[in-house]
């Protein structure tokens, strides 16, 4: 009888605990999802309606902001999205490839200057980007590299490499060297070992790097602002600033623009969501 009572009490306590745990998780989830929902319904408001009640639902929902955005050729939103997709894709591919090869070499091959190169790369993570804006601008101007379709890829790769090398180097160190020794005994060449044996094992960390760098490149603002003059070459972040005036801002239109421009990233996320979550976990554990 007493045992049954203890069992019932324990079940009840578990139920209460479960309820609170779930309630907390639901709250956390809502705090993440609400900004997106707010952004969506705010984009259906007029400017006046938005300022009158910032969080309220639209009384007369309208798609006028979307129509205005897509019909005004001065907005360059679609070209900005294409530019962002191209720049981000190429940058991430280069960061992942270069980061992997460099990280592997620095992790596995002992040569004079190995640590010096590693430390120099890591120092890249310590220098604030804003301190380099003017020097980078001058170098680009003198080399006629600014305002080209590929302009932004160079700094994105340069500034993305340190973190990529850091993560790859640490990850590969944790892979047993016996794996490469076994491959060598079986006659595998260096490049085959690098790309056919170790690369598949390193996939989680490379996915992590790709995720981090995709978001970093997609959202990067400072270089995109100072190195690109031509509005046709603008990426998404500077293009979005066009809805902010000197003394007032059109937030509903900005929200609509954000929804349009975030679509490639959302598609990317849902396409690779499983892989992304796996990669994030691997990065958290190994990286």
């Amino acid at each position: 009888m007493a045992g049954k009572s203890i069992k019932t009490n324990s079940k009840f306590a578990n139920g209460i605990l479960g309820f609170f745990m779930n309630a907390m998780l639901i709250l956390f989830s809502l705090s993440c999802i609400f900004p997106l929902i707010w952004m969506f319904y705010s984009s259906l408001k007029t400017k006046r309606e938005f300022y009158a009640d910032v969080t309220g639902l639209p009384e007369n929902p309208t798609f006028q902001n979307f129509i205005d955005l897509l019909s005004n050729p001065n907005n360059n939103l679609l070209s900005a999205m294409l530019n962002s997709v191209r720049t981000t894709f190429l940058s991430v591919v280069l960061i992942v490839i270069c980061g992997y090869v460099l990280g592997y070499i620095l992790s596995r091959i002992n040569f004079k200057g190995n640590r010096v190169i590693y430390i120099m790369l890591l120092m890249g993570m310590l220098i604030p980007v804003h301190a380099l804006l003017v020097p980078v601008y001058i170098v680009y101007k003198d080399l006629n590299l600014s305002n080209q379709w590929f302009t932004l890829i160079i700094p994105y790769v340069a500034f993305g490499l340190p973190i990529a090398v850091f993560l790859v180097e640490g990850y590969i160190k944790a892979i047993p060297i016996e794996l490469e020794e076994a491959a060598a005994i079986d006659g595998s060449s260096f490049s085959k070992t690098l790309f056919s044996i170790i690369l598949p094992v390193s996939r989680p960390i490379l996915v992590t790097i790709a995720i981090i760098q995709t978001f970093a490149c997609w959202n990067e603002f400072s270089f995109a602002l100072i190195l690109i003059k031509d509005s046709a070459l603008q990426t998404v972040p500077p293009a979005l600033t066009m809805f902010k005036g000197q003394f007032s801002s059109d937030f509903p239109k900005t929200m609509a623009a954000l929804l349009i421009t975030m679509s490639p990233i959302v598609v990317l996320y849902f396409t690779f969501s499983k892989q992304i979550i796996k990669g994030m976990v691997a990065g958290a554990v190994k990286g």
């Binding site: 300022y51 070499i105 031509d230 066009m242």
Partner: protein, 463 residues
């Protein structure tokens, strides 16, 4: 050893591939031409006819900015007209939103690579002139065909001594106007808006009972209390000469008793009275004007840009008909002009010194600057927006405008006296610190004396 060699070769190959990729020049065009299409091309006679080639201009009149903003709309329209009249000149435009424009132009200035023509902010004039970045336009301004009609008072922020560095651009609008509901104030016992803060305090007792804010104000951005309050209130204590002395570094100081008194009065009004909405330091002017529009406040203090928004929002309502304009009330211990309001042109069309190397290009740049700020521009903004620019236009016909617009035009340009907009001058290093301190002071977190002391230190160190 073989493996090491291969590693080095592989790394070298990757770097080389990267460099080759960077070097490819299959680029899209880097020139943008003005895309404004629906513009009537004026029969513009320009002196730029002798120049054929590129001319770059950087500005912040974006397509979005120009919607409802007379200055920006006029600027874009003039730019299109000038380009249409000068087909041999390829005008390369770089258009950014205002905040990004300021970052970008500062980067270009630091790199010594300013565009041929650009908008110069008053507070950068002396520094950039000293660095030899901006061209001396004194002769060009004085010999301009429109020189007789220029409102020379607008030139002050763009001068260093007697040298002029720019043509004041866009529209001159007030930065400090009291927009009030005359019906509400009549109920409180005031036929017109009170001329003293003492009367406003008396009225606030009535509005408190009604559950209405007496005056809505938003300083969430930090700059509003400077541009839309202290800039005018300070003038009531110090007079115009004091600020001119600050600009000229002729002996005036932020720590002068008159200016400290203005700060003290500001602190008193915001911390010891119930005149303003409690969240004034948390909300922006955009939020505060909604308090007025929705009837939750009997008045609002803001700039001409707020008036345009309130006008378009209230159109057709009772509040539209009862809305009036007033200057900032006079503090009891202030002795200077009680009818002043700060008005001016914050930017000027300037020309990079690099352009002087090519006389034909320089002529084109000056022609463009004169066109952007000349009578065509002023006529456009007067006829379409009832606004004024650098060039005076005679006999502005306001009859086509409604009473609101006519009243505001007369209030801005006829019935009040002008004083300076503080942050059109000096340097951003001073104002960044001052604005933060001012915000803290309005919450009671710092004394007026300390605000003045910090500002003076920043002034001496950076200006």
């Amino acid at each position: 050893m073989k493996r090491k060699l291969l590693s080095v070769l592989l790394a070298t190959a990757m770097v080389a591939t990267l460099m080759v990729g960077c070097g490819k020049t299959e680029t899209e065009t880097t020139e943008t031409e003005t895309t404004e299409t629906e513009t009537e091309v004026a029969e513009t006679e320009t002196e730029a006819a002798g120049y054929a080639g590129e001319l770059s201009i950087m500005h912040f009149s974006t397509s979005e900015e120009s919607q409802g903003n007379g200055g920006s709309d006029g600027f874009r329209t003039m730019l299109s007209q000038w380009q249409a009249a000068n087909p041999d000149i390829t005008l390369t435009e770089e258009v950014l939103a205002n905040a990004e424009y300021k970052t970008q132009i500062a980067t270009y200035a630091a790199a010594g690579d300013l565009p041929d023509v650009f908008l110069l902010q008053g507070m950068n004039t002396k520094t950039w002139a000293a660095q030899g970045l901006i061209l001396d336009l004194t002769d060009a301004v004085n010999s301009s065909p429109y020189a007789a009609d220029y409102n020379k008072a607008y030139l002050t922020p763009f001068m260093d001594g007697d040298t002029i560095y720019g043509y004041p651009a866009l529209t001159g609008g007030t930065c400090t106007v009291v927009v009030y509901d005359s019906a509400k104030w009549a109920e409180a016992g005031f036929d017109t808006f009170p001329t003293t803060w003492a009367d406003v305090e008396a009225a606030s007792a009535y509005f408190d009972e009604q559950g209405v804010d007496t005056i809505a104000f938003g300083n969430g951005g930090g700059w509003q209390a400077n541009s839309c309050f202290i800039s005018t209130l300070g003038n009531r204590y110090t007079g115009k000469e004091w600020y001119q002395s600050m600009i000229d570094k002729a002996g005036a100081s932020f720590e002068d008793a008159e200016f400290v008194a203005a700060l003290a009065e500001t602190q008193r009004l915001f911390t010891s009275t119930s005149i303003f909405n409690e969240d004034f330091n948390a909300i922006t002017n955009e939020d505060a004007r909604e308090y007025y529009i929705s009837g939750d406040a009997a008045a609002f203090i803001g700039g001409n840009w707020d008036v345009s928004y309130i006008q378009s929002t209230l159109s057709g309502t009772d509040l539209y008909n009862t809305t009036k304009f007033a200057v900032l009330p006079q503090p009891a211990d202030a002795t200077k002009d009680p009818n002043s309001q700060n008005i001016g042109l914050g930017y000027a069309v300037a020309v990079s010194t690099e352009v002087a190397n090519d006389p034909a290009k320089l002529a084109a740049a000056i022609d463009l600057a004169q066109y952007l700020t000349g009578p065509e521009f002023s006529t456009f903004v007067a006829e379409n927006y009832a606004l004024g620019g650098f060039t005076n236009v005679a006999n502005v016909d306001l009859s086509g405008f409604d009473q609101w617009t006519q009243d505001f035009y007369n209030w801005s340009y006829v019935d009040t006296t002008a004083c300076e907009i503080y942050d059109s001058y000096l340097t951003g290093d001073v104002w960044g610190l001052f604005n933060t301190d001012l915000q803290t002071m309005m919450n009671g977190g710092i004394t007026p004396e300390d605000v003045a002391k910090h500002a003076q230190e920043a002034y001496l160190a950076n200006y």
